[in-house]
Amino acid sequence: MRSILNCTAVELSEKIKAGEYTAVEAMEAVFERIGEKEQEYHCYITLDRESALNRAKEVQRKIEAKELTGPLAGVPVAVKDNLCTKGVLTSCASKILENFVPAYSATAVEHLEKAGAVMVGKANMDEFAMGSTTETSYYGVTRNPVNPAHVPGGSSGGSAAAVALQECFMALGSDTGGSIRQPASYCGVVGLKPTYGMVSRYGLVSYASSLDQIGPITKNVADAAYLLEAIASYDKKDSTSMPDADRDFTGALVEDVTGMRIGIPRDYFGAGLEKEVETAVLAAAEVLKDAGAVVEEFDLGMAEYAIPAYYTIATAEASSNLERFDGIKYGYRTKGCVGLHNMYKKTRSEGFGEEVKRRIMLGSFVLSSGYYDAYYLKALRTKALIRKAFDEAFSKFDLILGPVAPSTAPKLGESLADPLKMYLGDIYTISVNLAGLPGISVPCGKDGNGLPIGLQLIGDCFAEKKLIRAAYTFEKQTVAKRL
C-alpha cells in the first residue's frame, strides 16, 4: 500500500490504466492513510468512505471499458469545501452553511469528474477562505503535515496538508490573496494560482469575486499542469471566464529555461523576510540561472501598497458576497426569534466566525456613504498602478521570482491574535491576485526546523506555460541534485 501512495497523480493513473492498480485500491489506500492521520491533522470537513469507494468502482469500470482514458482517470482528489459539490455538504468551513447541500457542482468539479478523478472528500479551509492558517474553520484547525504544532497555512490548508500527508493524490484549492500558494509552500507541495479567468468560478462560493481563482495543489509540477488542464475552461456560466486562452498546459512540461528572462524584485527581499527563506529562494534562482535562465534583479515598486489595497477591495466584495447568507434560503438559521431584522442579525452573528465578521464590518464600512471614494475607489486606482508595475516588469522579463511568504509556517495560535500582522504575511502573494496574474509555489528547501520553504514564480496574464516550464525545470534540477 505504501508504494501506491508514493505515486504522483499522473503515475497512479498510468498504473491504473495499465492494470497494475485499480482506482478502488487507490481509494482504499487513501482511506487507510486517512485512518492513520486524519485524527491528528484534520485535513477534511466531510469524508464519506463508502460513496468514495462506490465512485472509484464506477470509474474503474469505465477505465476498463476504455471509456475513461485521460491522464487523471482513477485518481483520488480532495476538493476545497468552498467548491459546490452536488449532493455533498459544502460548508465553506462555516457554521452558517453547516447543512448546505448544493443541487449543483462547480464547473471545475464537473471537469474533474469528466476526467475520471474521484473525490475523496471536502477539504478544510479558513472560513469562507478568509485567513492564512486554516485556524478560522468552524470545524477545527488543520495541522501542518511536517510539524503538527504548526499551521498548514491557508486558506486552502486542508487541501495542501492532505496532498502532503498522502490523504489524497491531488487537490483543488482556491486563491484570493495567496490561499493556494502559501499553504502549498508551508506544506512542501506545489500550488498553482491560475490567471484570473482561466478556470471558471461557477460554483466557487465567492469571497472576493474579482480576485478568486481555483487552482491545483499537487505533489509535483507535472501533476499541477495536468490537473489545471483538466479544470481550466471557458465557461459561459461565468462572465469573467476568458474565452480564448491557451489551455494546453502539459505541453509546457519541458525541462528547458534557456534564455528565459527572470526578474527578482529587490522590493521582495527587504525587512520582514526571514533569512532562511531568503537564502533558499536566492539559491533557487541560482539553480534556474545554471539551467540557462537570465536572472536579474530589478525594482518592481508598489509592493507595500498591495496589502492595503487588497484588504479594501477583498473585504468590500466579501461584505456584499456574504449578504446572501441570511437564514432564509439555505444554511443555518437562528432559533426562535421575533422579527425579520432580528432574525438576520442573530443568524449572521451566530453563523459567522470572528474573522469573517471582522472582514464584513471593514468591507461594509469602506463602501458606506462618504467613504466609497476615499477607500474603495482609491484601492481600485492603486490596483491599476500595481498592474501597471507588473506590465512594465513583464516587458523586460518572462517571469518574476521571489518568496511565497516571509517566513515558514507559524505555530498554531500565533497568528489570529494580531490580524494585521497576519495580513502582512500575504505581502508576496496578494499583488498577484490584484493584477490577475498566474503564480506557482514550488518547494525550494527547508528551514532549520525542517519546515518547508516555497519558491514563487509569477507570470504575465495567461503565461501559465512559461510558469510551468520554469517550475518544472527547477523541480527536475533540484531532484537531480538531491540524487
Partner: protein, 111 residues
Amino acid sequence: MGYGADRESGKGGTMANVIDDATIEYVGILAKLELSDEEKEAAKKDMGRMLDYIDQLNELDTSGVEPMSHVLPVRNVFREDVVTNGDGREETLLNAPERKEDMFVVPKTFE
C-alpha cells in the same frame, strides 16, 4: 445623524478616532451583524487599526488613474434570450430552513 456628525469631526485625524461606537452600530445595521459589547470594542480597535494602515494609500498619487474593476480586457459577455431552465422548484427549496407551499418562510415583513 450622530454618525454623520462623528464622521465629519473625524476628518483630519486618524481613522482610529473616527471609528467610534456610533460607527460600529451603524456598520452593524448595514452588515446585519449584532456584536456583543466585547466584540464591538474589538471591532472598533481592529477597524481603526486597519483603516489607519490602509490610509498609507494616501501616500500614492492616483490622480488621473482610472479605478480598475476588472483586470481582464473582456467586455460584452452576453447570453441569448433563450429559456434553458425548467422547473427548478425542488432544487431551489432543497436547503430551505423552513418551507410552506413551495415557498420560503420568513418572519413577517411589515409594510
